[in-house]
């Protein structure tokens, strides 16, 4: 391992520009003759628009145009599509109601935009938006996921607000196994709604160039090519070759910037319509209202065990909130990214899951860090921990007894996935050691003496990253492929520019991808430049989500790099007067095996561009590209253990110790991986203790700012103890699995399992706020539960 190769904690190339304020985010770009946009948004969760009077808005000084949903409809723009067609168990297609970027006839959630106001300044645009007088006829609204099917229908296309009823696994066998079981653990599990909070809010800046008919849209996107595809093929803003999407530096996404939203769409449309650049940057309040939210499930689940404590069956019934419209990947989250994960790390022979997706008058719900996998892990790990307590078994030992063993791989689960490799006991053992499991009873006693209740909770999670392969996913309803592109352009002087379809918005690709290429080519790390986030520069890509960048994007780069090495070998063979099979490439040098003569990579690159002495049958130049389509998911897994102390007088929960041992396969940059784990853990703990997107019964968002929506902060968290175990992924060239979401998946159940252990109770709702915990302490003290 070199100091900057694979496995080295290279400091992030991008950090200097970020921490010195030289990053260039969408809002940092300004164009000549630029205007500013603001949106008029529905104050009602559900209403018919009976009139929009824009005359006063047009009179506001500085306002140049006011465009409504009706104007957009008149221009013939298409709606925002959902990219994954899920079929119900009866074979019917999911209900996909139209989603106009600007509402024209009805509004279905508070914050839904129905007009865009263009002005000289952001303040004038906002004043204009406030001056629009719209008449609404209010309709009955529903926000709660478990009330949706009993409420007024939101979309005529989806009676009773039902979107689909999806199932996976053997229902009959599962029911029979549960009937026959020695013990059944049953829980009702609520997965609380979360609101993503990237540091940088969404933003867009669009320009229409009348000379060539091209629209350029700078925007906060995790996957600019997907945005271009949707805006061209579905919304039909411009043909794909006349649309350029630039997603420059992007300050965090967590899934919320995968999707194509109304505002970015409207800005691009407006720029063409008025013939001037249009810019919009969301306020934090707008982000709360109109970014896609996450989670929001209600689940009833049963885990059956035999007399020896072996899992015999798992039955899961979930209702999932889609919000008011189907966001870009909303339908896939509670199905193919949830139901398929319910085997976890265990050899449960019978699993059946049924998911009803419903519409409500709330912001759309879509993928948020982990996307379906945190929900699955939460269901399973709460059940397993509860079963252990009911059977008076050690929760670690119950898990160990049911683990898929190393010799079982490849392991076909009853819920479609085939795990390629893993060693779950290795992670568990390391985590038990790190937390000093044996010492826990003593620590509990000591805490008790201080009036604190101490508890320990486990979570053995699995996730599936690098969604694949394309053909299978498309056969299951995916509207796009799941490969990634990579292009390695060697410059004549031997430095390298790499183009990737992955998109970095905090992940550090400019560092890790450069490590991969530099170590493979044997050239200095500094000689590699990573380009991403621009459809005008990168050939194609599917972006970054689902912890896919290293496993899929990295593999594409490796494949292209290897093509470069192979072509270079042909050039080197010619220069060295050798047969191709006599040339070896190592540490940046092509060597003639028998004569010991050699050419450096730089010399070969130069020869490729100045082909004075060059093979007759070879094209000049040294630039290769690859599309990499994985043949399976990758399966990161690990054990998280949390210890908490509860103050029973106030209900405050302190996370005292948190251990995370993860198997991400080969680790490219341990420091970046550790950073990803820390961030994920903060979000996972945030869900367990603090975060909750709440709509009241009337459909108003009542956690619309940081005054009420509680984000985890540094002083809420302990110093994490993280470590890794390694079983390299068996089917990609790097052996990598993905690490971006693991923390957010594993942490949540570990925290809740620790709190319920501390209090000796069965359940507590998330987030476990001080008042909820105080009430649970009180009830427990009064002999309840």
């Amino acid at each position: 391992m070199s100091s900057q190769g694979i496995g080295a904690s290279v400091r992030r190339t991008e950090d200097m520009r970020f921490i010195t304020g030289r990053g260039r985010y969408t809002d940092d770009f300004n164009l000549p003759r630029q205007t500013h946009a603001a949106f008029a948004r529905s104050p009602y969760p559900h209403a018919r628009i009976t009139g929009v009077d824009t005359s006063a808005a047009k009179d506001v000084p500085g306002v140049s145009s006011v465009l409504t949903g009706a104007d957009m409809a008149a221009d013939g723009l298409g709606g925002l599509p959902c990219g994954w067609l899920v079929k119900s168990k009866d074979g019917s297609d999911m209900k996909q109601p139209p989603h106009p970027p600007l509402a024209a006839e009805r509004v279905n959630y508070v914050g839904e935009p129905y007009a865009i106001v263009i002005a000289d300044t952001p303040a004038a645009a906002r004043a204009g938006a406030e001056a629009i007088i719209a008449d609404f006829e209010e309709l009955d609204a529903v926000a709660a996921v478990d009330q949706a099917i009993h409420a007024a229908t939101i979309h005529p296309e989806a009676p009773e607000n039902r979107c689909y009823l999806w199932s996976l696994g053997e229902e009959e066998a599962t029911n029979e196994a549960i009937e026959a079981a020695a013990h059944v653990t049953s829980l009702k599990i609520v997965n609380n709604r979360l609101i993503p909070n990237a540091i940088e809010p969404r933003a867009a800046l669009a320009n229409f160039d009348a000379s060539n008919g091209e629209i350029t849209l700078y925007t906060t996107s995790q996957n600019p090519h997907l945005a271009r595809l949707i805006l061209a093929a579905f919304v039909q803003i411009a043909p794909e070759h006349k649309l350029r999407i630039i997603a420059p530096d992007v300050g965090g996404g967590f899934g919320s910037k995968i999707f194509v939203y109304s505002e970015e769409t409207a800005v691009a449309w407006a720029a063409k319509r008025i013939g001037r650049p249009v810019k919009w940057t969301a306020t934090r309040s707008e982000s709360f209202l109109a970014d896609a939210h996450g989670r929001d499930h209600v689940t009833h689940a049963d885990l059956a065990l035999d007399a020896d404590g072996r899992f015999t069956a798992l039955r899961v019934r979930t209702t999932a909130n889609m919000g008011a419209y189907l966001s870009t990947f909303a339908s896939s989250v509670p199905t193919y990214l949830y139901g398929t994960l319910l085997a976890g790390q265990y050899k449960t022979p019978n699993i059946h899951v049924e998911v009803e997706a419903v519409f409500t008058n709330t912001a759309p719900v879509d993928a948020y860090r982990g996307a379906g996998r945190p929900e699955a892990t939460y269901v399973l790990e709460r059940l397993v921990e509860t079963a252990a307590r009911e059977l008076n078994m050690d929760p670690a030992e119950l898990r160990r007894k049911n683990f898929i063993q190393p010799e079982d791989f490849p392991y076909q689960t009853p819920v479609a996935l085939e795990y390629d490799v893993g060693d779950y006991e290795a992670s568990l053992n390391k985590a038990l050691e790190l937390i000093d499991y044996k010492g826990f009873p003593e620590r509990k006693k000591e805490a008790n003496a201080r009036g604190r209740k101490r508890g320990i909770g486990f979570s053995c999670y699995i996730e599936a990253c690098g969604l694949a392969p394309s053909q299978l996913a498309i056969s299951l309803g995916a509207g796009v492929g799941l490969y990634e592109s990579g292009e390695v352009r060697v410059n004549p002087t031997g430095s390298v520019t790499v183009y990737t379809g992955s998109h970095s918005h905090g992940q550090g690709h400019e560092t890790t991808f450069a490590q991969i290429v530099a170590s493979r080519l044997g050239i200095p790390f500094e000689d590699v430049e990573i380009v991403h986030g621009d459809t005008g520069r990168v050939e194609f890509g599917l972006g970054t989500y689902g912890s896919r960048s290293a496993a899929v994007g990295g593999s594409a780069i490796v494949t292209a790099t290897d093509k470069v090495i192979r072509k270079g070998a042909r050039i080197a063979a010619h220069l060295l007067d050798a047969d191709l099979d006599e040339v070896d490439f190592e540490d940046g040098i092509y060597k003639h095996r028998s004569s010991n003569a050699s050419k450096t990579f730089g010399e070969v690159a130069f020869a490729a561009y100045v082909p004075a002495d060059y093979p007759n049958d070879l094209e000049p130049g040294l630039s290769e590209k690859a599309f990499y389509d994985p043949n399976n998911f990758t399966y990161p897994a690990g054990t998280h253990i949390c210890e908490v102390e509860v103050d029973p007088d106030t209900g405050t929960v302190e996370v005292v110790t948190f251990v995370a041992v993860d198997d991400f396969g080969t680790v490219i940059n341990p420091m970046i991986v550790e950073g990803q784990v820390h961030g994920g853990l903060a979000q996972g703990i945030g869900q367990a203790l603090f975060e909750h997107g709440i709509y009241d019964d009337f459909g108003q968002l009542i956690t619309g700012s940081y005054m009420d929506y509680c984000m985890p902060r540094a002083d809420d968290l302990p110093s994490f103890k993280v470590d890794t175990t390694v079983t390299p992924c068996s089917h990609n060239p790097l052996g990598v699995k993905g690490c971006g979401e693991a923390g957010a998946i594993g942490a949540t159940p570990a925290v809740i399992n620790a709190i319920t252990d501390a209090l000796g109770i069965r359940e507590i709702e998330m987030p476990a706020t001080p008042e909820r915990v105080w009430r649970a302490c009180k009830t427990a003290a009064e002999g309840g539960q």
Partner: protein, 264 residues
């Protein structure tokens, strides 16, 4: 955000005169509540009169019996003041718990008291220490100052000049912060003053108040134990997303007990 005219007077007289001239004007102290309120369109003053240049409103002075703090003194200044920390360490500690560093370096004592947010920290100290609020017109005793939710004894245009805190024999402040906003869900200051035990509570009710049942219990036995089991009437307490009235009621007792323990 609506348009307004901005004034920066150099004397108290000029400030109050401007305030009188413009009916819809407001004084601007640290602006930590007022400016976000204006930005959100919840307030639309015609004129803002910035008090930032009024040096007469700033400063911390100690006498044998009192600690006097100018209305425009920043929270961070109180928290860091050697005089304040020596005279009333509980008050300096309280100031250091307000908001975050940005708020503490900008927000002021006078601004906090004039706004009288039910969850602000300073009101608990004003009540518990029996402070006197001096305005440009008169002096107001702590008990007469806080009237209701965001409602004080200040008349329109009346300007807080300074606050005089009698130095207690001992005092301590215990705060249970809202996890999201870090305002006080309940904050309790317990003080042993020359007039006896005083307990000031913020966060729990519509405005800060003296908690008589706890004062009576502590007068008999100044110990954390004595506070346990004291019945707190929470019927008029605040109830919101973060804490019900009942929970706030329980926290008043718990925080009072912790404040007693912290007095040492």
């Amino acid at each position: 955000m609506s348009r307004f005219d901005y004034h920066r007077p150099n004397s108290i007289d000029d400030a109050t005169r401007l305030r009188g001239q413009h009916e819809d004007s407001l004084f601007l102290a640290g602006g930590q509540t007022l400016l976000p309120t204006i930005k959100q369109g919840l307030a639309a003053p015609s004129d803002l009169i910035d008090l930032g240049r009024l040096d007469d409103l700033r400063g911390i002075n100690v006498s044998a019996e009192t600690l006097t703090i100018g209305a425009m003194t920043r929270h961070a200044e109180v928290a860091a003041s050697a005089e304040a920390r020596k005279a009333i360490p509980a008050l300096a500690h309280l100031a250091g718990l307000i908001g975050d560093p940005q708020v503490r370096n900008t927000g002021t004592l006078g601004g906090s008291l004039a706004n009288s947010d039910p969850a602000a920290d300073y009101p608990a100290a004003v009540i518990a220490l029996g402070a006197t609020i001096h305005t440009d017109k008169r002096s107001i005793a702590a008990e007469d100052y806080f009237l209701d939710l965001f409602e004080t004894a200040l008349e329109p245009g009346e300007l807080i000049v300074k606050v005089e805190f009698p130095i207690p024999k001992r005092a301590a402040y215990a705060k249970f912060p809202n996890p999201a906003s870090r305002y006080a869900i309940v904050g309790v200051m317990v003080a042993e003053t020359k007039d006896g035990i005083r307990v000031g509570v913020t966060g729990a009710g519509p405005c800060a108040f003296r908690c008589t049942p706890i004062e009576e219990a502590l007068a008999k036995d100044f110990s954390a134990e004595a506070v346990k089991g004291v019945a707190i009437d929470h019927s008029r307490f605040n109830s919101d997303l973060h804490a019900s009235a009942e929970y706030r009621g329980a926290l008043v007792g718990v925080m009072a007990g912790r404040a007693v323990s912290a007095t040492g």
